[in-house]
């Protein structure tokens, strides 16, 4: 110990070769801090350190930190540091072989750098095999490593949330006025101010917490199932039960359950955008990479938790789970981060600051006037302080959060689950909705409608009848159809289980439809797959739009079954069977006939698949993976119908009426897409603009942005290009929503302003990525959600306008009153009372106003529209002035009648309060008259809060304790009439002089003019 000095840091400990143990800090007697790489993300080792080391008598306490990988040891005896170090080092060496090493460390250390190891080596290190782990090994590891789950993110604590409500300029101003009150002896006033602050903060805190609870409930991901190989068998297990060493099976749509090393890959592509930001899928392979220091995105033989397989197939062995994964590490760092403020919240924050400043200046002004008039300093101070309290709309930011939060709740009850607070706002500015055809516009419930054998088209009903013997059709057509369907179902992953006469089908809708059709034709689904066992599968991918499978033939040979895009499969085929069963060459004439039949099917809106098979080939020893489809025998075409969901057409019409453009995205060929677009009237009566491209992502982005301005249909577009579409539309300045329901939608859903997933089975993957999940798969819900989104912005505007005009009137009355009259028009308590009564509940109630009837008949607002602009301010001041006039009139009347004093104060106090409550009601609509308007929907909250406030005001007048507190006096009937008149008149004037929408076009409606499109002059002739 004595030979240690500060300079000796980071020296490697002697004897600690295998287990790196570095002394970090040993200058303080009795404690040493070590760094031990093995500790990193190894909770089991941590707990062992902390418990077993204490067996050594001279260790008083041991603290090990898995995040930083450091070890803090407190020891009692006078022992040499090096002795302690070697003790710990040898203990470490003894302990380590028992536990399996986890995860690679970028700083080196002794953990294996997985991507530099060969597959065999990786498996060996993990103690695993290609066939997976045995049951005992799994049990052992589950005990050792625990569940494969990311630790729950601890958001900021409740206290910090509550505290945040109180940190703002308005509250600061209030604080100052509270201090001033205390300084001038107004302790009750200070207490009242404190109450006001607390009430506001509590309301804000409560609603925000509710909102976050709702959101986190939606965000809780269910425990998905994962396909793994254990004990050489392929089984389904829950995600949380995955352990290092498990062999994952990768097929399109699989979400990776833990960090894993690829051990087998066949055109395997993955979407890693969550981790690397790389939006296009990357191809993976199993070979080792020599470079140790390699960025995550370049580790093309690794795959990470949260990535998704977009094409091809393969296997991977898990190397890290839970918090030890890359995703887990990132989450560690991001634990206490708050979600960012929404744009509206930011705007209101700024507004609040500006208003606080303006109110502060006004109050100083009133104070100055008072002083000039020669009033006592303390009373003027407290007056000005209370005016500050009353004038500042401290609930401003709360209004946004509350309305948004309540909006989320409302949307949830209507079937739209919202994940993020600002998604509600974005709903209000939506320009364009991109709809995936399959699953969103259609039900994704396919069934075979027609089959084309040679050049003869026959419907499924006819085929079924022919099989039953009710009708007769050409023999070769019947046999051709049977063969076609049998080949198609061999080349598919769909399964039939259970009772052979009434089986349960599982698999993709297309493949299940083929199974159903084959069953109706009498195929024996169960024995077919056994009769022709599958040797290898090659899935449909971006570059190869067909699936091909290799099977063992009846005798020793092998044959290929291929199904996919009609044109591509036709290109691979060189022969077909004609009516007499003979094999004929596929010449130009036949190809033309087949393509014509394809066209005819597509025009009916059917999805068309081409099916072909190879002749039975000799097993020439070529590896299954090396057999390529070539020289196939064309079997025919299958036309599948996917019914359009009910209500979609009306929903699209509603979108168009609301000024929202729609675009349909599909991988189908042009004809199919256009047939559906026609059926839905996607172009809304105008020219149908369609783009047919497989290279959208390679097009110049500006060119694409220009082209896409008005495109309605995207055909033959692979889902991976959705991202390019979204980005191009956004470049054109549009706010874009994208619907998705499956693989490959991840990047597009993330980049879109609004990612929407259809809830319901089979879509949980997209559901986790989307901002909004539509339960019940109903697109109509989106319309309601959009109306709600627009309404929320409008309601926030209403609240803000109400607060500003009311508070302006307060300041104005006080300013003028102080200037003119010998006494202050209202006492501080009265000002605070007004504030509590009128600023809190009615403002919030306004935020809950129901949507206006024409909300969905107007185009969306521009995203950065300010809440208030110049025109609004002018109108607000006008409204405030009318209320000020009313208040001053009342004060003047009372002063003339009773002299300046409590009685006059009571008058103006009553008048202003009533006036502001009526203003709340009037603020329900900016352009329509409210009083006496039967068409306006009811807002029970507002009615309740206004009624309640009026009742409380009455109490203030008649209940003795309140009268004492507020300093009010009794009023006569004629006084009441005068008060009522001076409150109702301004309200009526304000209501009656509301500008109509066209008369005074405010910025929020600027879209109206530009969006009013001239209807296309109908072309009468060509």
């Amino acid at each position: 110990m004595t030979d240690l000095s500060q300079g000796q840091l980071h020296h490697p400990a002697p004897g600690a070769t295998r287990a790196r143990l570095e002394v970090l800090h040993a200058t303080v007697p009795g404690r040493i801090r070590f760094r031990c790489g093995e500790l990193r993300r190894n909770p089991s080792l941590v707990s062992r350190f902390e418990h077993e080391l204490l067996d050594y008598s001279h260790f008083k306490a041991v603290e090990a930190n898995p995040v930083t990988g450091t070890l803090l040891v407190f020891y009692s005896d006078i022992t040499d540091v090096s002795q302690i170090t070697s003790q710990i080092g040898s203990w470490l060496s003894d302990t380590l072989p028992d536990s399996i090493q986890q995860n690679e460390s970028e700083e080196g250390g002794d953990e294996p750098v997985w991507h530099t190891l060969r597959v065999a080596e990786t498996l060996a290190r993990l103690g695993s095999k290609r066939g997976g782990l045995s049951a005992t090994a799994i049990a052992l590891r589950q005990a050792q490593f625990g569940a494969n789950a990311l630790p729950e993110t601890r958001g900021p604590s409740d206290f910090s949330n509550f505290w945040r409500q109180m940190v703002s300029w308005p509250v600061a101003l209030l604080g100052v006025s509270a201090v001033v009150s205390i300084a001038t002896g107004g302790l009750v006033d200070a207490a009242a101010i404190g109450t006001v602050i607390l009430v506001n903060a509590t309301v804000g805190f409560a609603t925000e917490r509710q909102a976050e609870k709702t959101i986190s409930l939606i965000n809780k991901s269910p425990d998905h199932t994962v396909e793994v190989i254990r004990g050489n068998k392929q089984i389904l297990v829950t995600r949380t039960s995955i352990v290092p060493g498990d062999v994952l099976l990768l097929t399109p749509g699989t979400v990776i359950a833990g960090d894993a090393r690829i051990i087998e890959a066949n055109r395997l592509t993955l979407d890693e955008s969550m981790l690397t930001g790389e939006s296009m899928p990357v191809e993976k392979h199993p070979e080792r990479i020599d470079k140790v220091r390699l960025p995550l995105a370049d580790r093309s033989n690794m795959t990470y938790l949260g990535s998704m397989v977009t094409g091809g197939s393969g296997r991977a062995v898990v190397v890290a789970i839970g918090a030890n994964t890359e995703a887990g590490r990132i989450q560690d760092l991001a634990q206490t981060a708050r979600p960012p403020q929404t744009p509206v919240e930011r705007q209101l924050d700024t507004l609040g600051g500006q208003l606080a400043l303006a109110s502060g200046i006004a109050c100083v002004g009133v104070f100055a006037i008072g002083m000039l008039r020669g009033r006592a300093l303390p009373s003027m101070l407290s007056s000005a302080a209370s005016l500050a309290t009353a004038a500042v709309p401290e609930g401003l930011p709360t209004v946004a959060t509350t309305t948004l939060a309540l909006g989320i709740h409302k949307l949830g009850s209507r079937g739209a689950l919202v994940r993020r607070l600002d998604a509600v706002e974005t709903l209000g500015t939506l320009h364009t909705v991109c709809l995936d055809k399959t699953g969103t516009i259609t039900e994704n419930r396919m069934s075979v409608a027609s089959v084309v054998v040679g050049d003869k088209t026959v419907g499924m009903t006819e085929l079924t009848a022919a099989v039953a013997g009710d009708i007769t059709i050409l023999d070769n057509v019947l046999h051709g159809a049977e063969g076609l369907l049998k080949t198609a179902i061999l080349c598919s992953d769909a399964e039939a289980k259970g009772d052979p006469s009434d089986p349960q089908f599982s698999g993709s809708p297309t493949e299940v439809a083929l199974l159903r059709a084959a069953k109706t034709m009498g195929a024996d689904l169960f024995s077919l797959r056994d009769a022709y066992p599958r040797l290898r599968t090659r899935y449909r991918s971006e570059s190869q739009r067909y699936m091909s499978t290799l099977h063992r033939g009846r005798d020793s040979g092998r044959f290929l079954a291929v199904k996919g895009s009609p044109r591509e499969v036709l290109d691979l085929s060189t022969q077909l069977r004609v009516s007499d069963g003979e094999l004929r060459d596929l010449d130009e004439d036949w190809r033309a006939r087949i393509l014509t039949a394809n066209e005819a099917l597509a025009q009916r809106g059917l999805r068309v698949l081409g099916v072909a098979r190879s002749a039975t080939l000799e097993d020439d020893g070529v590896e299954p993976n090396g057999v390529e489809p070539d020289n196939l025998i064309w079997c025919g075409l299958v036309g599948l119908v996917d019914p359009i969901r009910g209500g979609v057409k009306q929903t699209l019409e509603a979108f168009h009426r609301a000024g929202i453009e729609t675009a349909m995205i599909t991988g189908d060929q042009s004809s199919t897409a256009q047939a559906i677009a026609r059926e839905l009237d996607l172009a809304n009566g105008k020219r149908l603009e369609a783009i047919d491209s497989v290279t959208l992502d390679q097009m110049d982005p500006d060119l694409l942005a220009g082209i896409l301005r008005r495109v309605h249909v995207f055909a033959r577009v692979s889902p991976a290009h959705k991202l390019a579409i979204v980005q191009a539309l956004q470049r054109g300045g549009k706010v874009v929503a994208m619907t998705g329901d499956g693989i490959n939608d991840g990047p597009a859903l993330r980049v879109a302003d609004l990612g929407i997933a259809m809830g319901g089975e089979g879509s949980s993957v997209a559901g986790e990525l989307a901002d909004i999940v539509l339960k019940d798969d109903k697109l109509e819900t989106l319309i309601g959600a959009i109306a709600q989104g627009r309404t929320i912005f409008r309601n926030i505007r209403k609240s803000v306008r109400f607060l500003l005009s009311s508070n302006f009137s307060e300041i104005a009355v006080m300013a003028v009153g102080t200037a003119i009259s010998p006494a202050a028009p209202m006492n501080p308590m009265q000002l605070l009372w007004i504030n509590l009564l009128t600023d809190v509940a009615p403002a919030l109630a306004l935020g809950l106003d129901p949507p206006e009837p024409d909300e969905l008949l107007r185009p969306p607002r521009a995203p950065m529209t300010p809440i208030l602009d110049r025109r609004d301010l002018r109108r607000l001041i006008y409204e405030g002035l009318t209320m000020t006039a009313g208040g001053l009139a009342s004060y003047g009347y009372a002063t003339l009648r009773y002299g300046a004093g409590p009685r006059a104060s009571t008058h103006v106090f009553m008048t202003l309060t009533l006036s502001q409550l009526l203003n709340a009601i009037s603020s329900r609509s900016e352009h329509h008259r409210v009083f006496g308007n039967r068409q306006l929907a009811r807002n029970p909250f507002l009615t309740a809060s206004v009624a309640g406030s009026i009742a409380l005001q009455g109490l203030a007048l008649f209940a003795p304790p309140l009268r004492k507190l507020l300093g009010t006096t009794p009023v006569s009937l004629s006084d009441l009439i005068a008060i009522a008149a001076s409150a109702i008149t301004p309200a009526l004037i304000n209501d009656a002089t509301k500008p109509s929408r066209d008369g005074l076009v405010s910025s929020t409606n600027a879209q109206d003019k530009s969006a009013t499109t001239q209807p296309d002059a109908p072309e009468t002739s060509l």
Partner: protein, 398 residues
């Protein structure tokens, strides 16, 4: 023309972006008419940056996969690999489907005198037809040679030994005239494109032997020692095709007609259905002019037809014979009026314009777009027939 004179005409190969657009437009017309002879169709095509833009309005009982048609043509013309190719290019379509009652409902009716007058034109045009004795096909020599050179060049562009060429090329032919008769080939100017670098001299030599010689051999005029043959005279051989320069339907109307040796209407012909007088009047005018010359009434004849909207027949029928007439012009005019019915319905009926695509396996108007709307005798379109010449001769002999 006075004294010795040089006249040049240019033609382009089928792979030239403008011609490509013409072909796509007409292939769409072919597709529609093949499946529904009463279809009305108006298709226009533009290509730029490797993106195809197609605007189509149609009234038909079926619908066509327009992007597929475009891709087939692009592949056929020779753009199969390379930056712009049939499989990868993006096709943007803007389609208006018109109500079915706007189809050509009387397509199936017998078009006779009673209903011919009811079929009025809905476009206005002044169309020209021309014929002369330079070639057996009664076409002016400059455009005739230029077109055939282009045709041969396009057929052999990927088989040339020196260097494979892009489907996009232009040929300009200059003929020396004396007293309105072609005397010699003054010059031939090739502008070709290629992705690869190649030796210009070798290529030029190969073009002379593989392209020029076989084409000229079929004509009565020869290439002599003074004939100047240029190959990319203005600069090196660069890459071409739609990636480099854009194309638009209807920008090669001179190539489609007479190479400016005679007047032609500025209206594009490609992409229009047979009921558009601004397409078919040119056929009728050519038919009449050719028969006049074939009948020996004159050695050169340019016919002018003017149409106004709302009328079935032309408001003006004029002709010019440049002093080569062998009969009184008044008599010729009378004969023309007697033997040719220039009403829209008559043109459609006599040439069976709605049925031609079906009769040629769905590939008729597209080939006209590639090789010439008039004067492309390989296809034997009805307006190149000279049966009426006999009757004209008889008429004027009497």
């Amino acid at each position: 023309m006075i004294g010795s004179n040089l006249f040049t005409s240019e033609a382009v190969t089928a792979g030239h972006p403008d011609k490509l657009c013409d072909q796509i437009s007409d292939a769409i017309v072919d597709s529609f008419l093949t499946s529904d002879r009463a279809a009305r169709i108006n298709a226009e095509c533009a290509v730029a940056h490797g993106v195809i833009f197609i605007a189509a309005s149609y009234a038909a009982s079926t619908s066509i996969d327009i992007p597929e048609v475009a891709r087939t043509i692009i592949k056929d013309v020779g753009y199969e690999t390379g930056e712009f190719n049939a499989a990868d290019c993006s096709v943007l379509t803007s389609i208006r489907e018109l109500p079915a009652h706007q189809r050509f409902e009387s397509a199936d009716d017998e078009l006779d005198s009673s209903n011919l007058d009811a079929l009025t034109v809905s476009n206005q045009v002044t169309a020209f037809g021309y014929a002369c004795r330079h070639t057996d096909a009664l076409m002016p020599l400059p455009i005739w040679l230029a077109r055939h050179l282009c045709q041969r060049l396009h057929e052999r562009s990927d088989k040339l030994k020196t260097s494979p060429l892009s489907p996009d090329a232009t040929v300009q032919v200059g003929i020396e005239f004396k007293d309105r008769q072609p005397k010699r080939i003054h010059s031939i100017n090739f502008t070709v494109h290629s992705e690869q670098a190649c030796d210009t001299e070798d290529l030029r030599a190969e073009i002379v032997s593989e392209i020029i010689k076989p084409v000229v051999a079929k004509e009565s005029i020869r290439v002599d020692k003074r004939t100047r043959i240029f190959l990319n005279h203005q600069g090196p051989i660069l890459s071409g095709g739609p990636v480099v320069h854009s194309g638009l339907t209807g920008r090669k109307t001179a190539v489609d007609t007479y190479g400016q040796f005679a007047r032609h209407s500025e209206s594009a012909q490609s992409g229009k259905d047979p009921l558009r007088i601004d397409r078919v009047a040119a056929y009728a005018a050519r038919h009449a002019a050719k028969n006049v010359v074939a009948a020996g009434l004159a050695d050169e004849c340019e016919l002018l037809l003017s149409y106004s909207m709302g009328l079935a027949g032309p408001v003006s029928v004029q002709f010019e014979t440049f002093g080569t007439e062998h009969f009184d012009q008044g008599d010729i005019h009378a004969a023309i009026t007697r033997h040719f019915d220039f009403r829209l319905g008559a043109i459609v009926r006599d040439f069976a314009l709605c049925d031609l695509p079906a009769e040629h396996s769905g590939n008729f108007y597209r080939r006209l777009a590639a090789y010439g709307q008039v004067g492309f005798t390989d296809l034997a379109p009805p307006w190149e027939e000279t049966q009426v010449a006999e009757k004209l001769r008889e008429d004027l002999a009497s």
